[in-house]
Amino acid sequence: MFGEQQRFVLLLIAPAALLLLLFQVVPIVIGANASFRDWALYNPKKTWIGFDHYVAVITDPAFLYVVLPNTFLFMVLSVAGALVAGLALALLLNRPFRGQKLVQTILLVPLMVAPVIAAIMIRWIFNDQFGIVNVVLEAIGLEGQPWLVQRWSAFGIILLTDIWLWTPWFTLLLLAGLQSLPKEPFEAAAIDGTTTWRVFRYLTLPMLRPVIVVCVVIRAIDAFRTFDIVWTLTGGGPGRSTELFSLYAYVHAFLNLDLGRGSAAAIIGGLVILVIGVVLYRLVDRIAKA
């Protein structure tokens, strides 16, 4: 039935495809099915109600005017922040200096701790009473802030935590990229006396383009669905002002026990990021090429 090559191709993906089917596709299809039904977790009537849940989500002003803008803002800032920090650290680690290996190990620390634990720790660090940040600020004569009750400081802390968690990934991927770049153009530039900035802008950056594109797209998808650290740090508060799309879905599915509505919200979010991912891929690719 299949030629030798087709058989080879199919066999190569067969184990992955089977696992994907069983533990990702099947549950997602069940969730998608629930999104068209009256499916409260405590009382699954499972009657077909069409697109009611979807309509309810996309006509919810909180979803449109708070949750989606927050999510986009978070995605852009988090990816940009981690990219810039990761690139800077990768450039730093790419030059030999004493203790380079030690610094490299320390920069990997965020990868070693469970994100949820890190988020709890950071929440306490920013507590206005016992948090060390305010203690230090007050010790040097500044006023401590109630970080988590003000919208933008709370948002900033979430962002900072996320960037902290993900910078090591960028650093690693970009450093690996840097080290695989050919040496000759850099040597030529050094002989010509080209400035650091021009070397970075016209040599390093274009050569890193493929790595950056993949990093940004994959990370953007993940940033869009960030959940655990936000839930731990602010729970979307104060008063929903830092709510992201995955929290919106979580509150419906897990807190209100409405699996149907929660799944619908999650699927809408999934579709949005699907489109963003494709657009982003083209966009970043073009920017990096220019």
């Binding site: 405590y42 709370a154 008063g239 026990l257």
Partner: protein, 428 residues
């Protein structure tokens, strides 16, 4: 023939007795719970019963983070994972139709009538579905080394003046601290609104779903009583500075940490924390804590108590013989005086059997106070609402008041009015 059968039964019984409890040892009951002092103490009674009756007690701890959703999923998928599960008034009505009726657990008659009201735990047929584990509610805690019993604030205004005085004297950094964020509304928002004839839905203190529906699931957010409550906390935080500025984002852990470090004079917390506050390994205020009735707002003159239970329940889907065994175990737990006294001692939670209360109160001043101020009080409040949309209502309410209290004072009424429809909508 019948004689032969009887002989056979007798012979089997003798054989079982002779071989020890080998056959009985196979029996086991699986308990789905959450590790915490009160549940641990209750399960200790199960284990004592199990040891005596040859039933193995298998403990399956669950994290609070996913307890309700996972257990609900387990109950609706007719899985056979647990024989007895931790149950709470908050999701009494969410689970009622999935649980085995417990009217035939005889010792249930010793449970608190108020707490086991059909409004909370009965299924559609009016059958009760819970066996109590202990009374779990909050009281007003104060620092007994700083405040004499007769000086304890009786009103919300006195709470402000007393706090200011203690802060001015340099005794404490803050007067009051209590949880305020989502799912911790009880420890500041709820008690203070109840203290002023207010509630999440109106009419206040009403928990009959029919009457709430007749009233159109009316939110209190547009009522002056709620505006006063929000303004009270706004002033407490920003004007009088008797509470930390970060408090609207606090959960109970943060509030209790500050209280236990000795930085606040007053708090509201579950009586279960009594043990922790007085544990020298955990707290810096050991022996310096006492409890009192809630301070009252300007619109309420009569004191009130808040009284709820935690309980145990049996999933409907498990086999009959295990249901029977589980009921025997729960019945024995209800009658275990020694175990229940221990439960109170280790937690500060009044035990499930009301007939043990007087005796414990004779020996223990804290229990005496709880009995007078809460358990025997005719004016009681229920902590939650008893319809499945309650978590959504609670979140909508908390989001609204948090937004109002962290905004400008003059915007409070406006913010509350904007959010009132969302609360009513969440209830329907």
């Amino acid at each position: 023939m019948q004689g032969l059968a009887r002989w056979f039964v007798a012979a089997t019984a003798a054989l079982v007795a002779a071989t020890g409890s080998a056959a009985a040892q196979v029996k086991e009951l699986r308990i789905g719970y959450q590790p915490s002092p009160i549940q641990d103490a209750s399960i200790a009674m199960f284990e004592a019963w199990g040891a005596k009756n040859g039933v193995k007690i298998v403990k399956v701890p669950n994290s609070y983070g996913v307890y309700v959703e996972k257990m609900t999923a387990s109950l609706t998928s007719n899985s056979d994972q647990y024989d007895v599960i931790w149950h709470n008034d908050d999701w009494g009505q969410t689970w009622a139709h999935l649980l085995e009726p417990t009217d035939d657990v005889e010792a249930n008659k010793f449970g608190s009538k108020w707490s086991m009201s059909p409004i909370v735990f009965a299924n559609a047929q009016g059958q009760n579905t819970v066996v109590p584990m202990g009374q779990t509610f909050s009281v007003f805690f104060y620092r007994s080394d700083l405040v004499k019993p007769e000086e304890v604030p009786k009103t919300l205004d006195e709470l402000v003046t007393m706090s200011k005085k203690l802060q001015a004297d340099g005794k404490v950094k803050f007067g009051y601290v209590g949880g305020m964020s989502m799912n911790h509304s009880w420890f500041s928002w709820f008690w203070s609104m109840w203290a002023n004839n207010c509630d999440v839905l109106l009419p206040a203190y009403e928990r009959d779903n029919k009457k709430l529906a007749e009233a159109g699931w009316k939110s209190s957010l547009t009522d002056p009583c709620m505006q006063k409550t929000v303004e009270y906390w706004w002033d407490a935080i920003n004007t009088h500075k008797i509470s930390p500025r970060g408090m609207p984002a606090y959960d109970r852990n943060e509030a209790n940490a500050i209280f236990m470090a000795g930085d606040a004079a007053f708090t509201v917390a579950d009586t279960l924390w009594w043990g922790t506050f007085n544990d020298p390994n955990k707290s810096k205020i050991v022996g310096k804590v006492a409890a009192a009735r809630f301070p009252l707002g300007p619109d309420r003159k009569k004191p009130f108590g808040w009284d709820d239970i935690w309980g145990w329940a049996i999933p409907k889907s498990i086999p009959e013989e295990r249901k029977k065994l589980a009921k025997q175990m729960l019945n024995a737990m209800m009658l275990d005086e020694e175990g229940q006294t221990k439960l109170f001692k280790s937690t500060g939670a009044p035990p499930p059997n009301t007939t043990f209360w007087p005796k414990i109160a004779e020996q223990d001043a804290f229990m005496k106070l709880l009995k007078e101020a809460v358990l025997d009080s005719p004016d009681k409040v229920r902590g939650a609402y008893y319809f499945p949309q309650w978590p959504a209502v609670h979140k909508a309410f908390n989001d609204a008041v948090t937004k109002a209290v962290t905004g400008k004072r003059e915007d409070i009424a406006k913010v509350l009015a904007e959010n009132a429809p969302l609360v009513s909508k969440a209830a329907q």
